[in-house]
Symmetry: C2
Subunit: 132 residues, 2 copies
DNA sequence: CGGGATCCTACGGGATACTG
DNA sequence: CAGTATCCCGTAGGATCCCG
């Protein structure tokens, strides 16, 4: 997330910024996972099967910085850290879930189009297959 | 809101896929630009100030492959190629614009949180009476 | 004009290893 | 347990040149 574009006079800076956040590999999954309440680090790590600890940390730091999650440290031994959505985070969840639901609902349409496209890309070769 | 412990479910694959598409640097800007009708290649290039020719081509190809955009070639000289949203593309525009609108509406909240976080990060150990 | 083909760099992100 | 610090690699993405 870096530049700011001028898009037909409208102000798209913050928009692109947020979209960049949402678009990275884990942010949305973390936010959705936190959607049903606070979780500690290791819980998130288990829930998000496949995430590396580095990326989980980085993702949570980014979300905390932007005010989407709170980080609560319990000075116990062993340490325990809870992450929870803020009001802003729960707010973000709404349009994000909407997009997610759209994705689920239209996944087959996209896949169909994709197969069609890939098939069409090979097709010109087929009638002239003897050329090889 | 539904229980979100289903990250292992394969229904998350397509979602992440769509989110990844939406999250890349130019896709959303292209889709939004095409939201008000067909545009030709050079028009898009000019509208999306700063995009490279390579990325515009790649983005449009991806969108075409996924069925979000149609590509129409006019066999004239010089050549002319029009791009236009499909029904699926216009459909995608809805949740994407919703997210975009959310981003515009909450940009200041995010920026405020960010400044707060960065300020706190610079500040050494100063446990002055925290206003909570 | 609308790209295809290349080259090159920055950065996202995974895999350890180490620490308090 | 919850990180921080390195190393390393793949790829997104910009710049350039060329072609129908």
């Amino acid at each position: 997330m870096k530049p700011s574009y001028v898009h037909r006079g409208e102000d798209c800076r913050g928009v692109s910024e947020v979209l960049a956040r949402v678009g990275d590999k884990w942010t949305v999954l973390v936010v959705v996972t936190l959607g049903d309440g606070a979780h500690r680090f290791s819980e998130l790590r288990r829930a998000l099967n496949g995430i590396s600890q580095k990326m989980l940390t980085a993702t949570l730091r980014g979300l905390e910085r932007d005010g989407f999650v709170t980080r609560t440290v319990f000075p116990t031994i062993p340490p325990r850290v809870d992450y929870e959505l803020t009001d802003l985070g729960r707010d973000l969840l709404v349009p994000v879930m909407a997009l997610g639901n759209w994705a689920r609902a239209n996944r087959d349409r996209v896949e169909a189009a994709r197969r069609r496209f890939d098939a069409a890309a090979l097709e010109p070769v087929l009638p002239v297959a003897a050329a090889r």
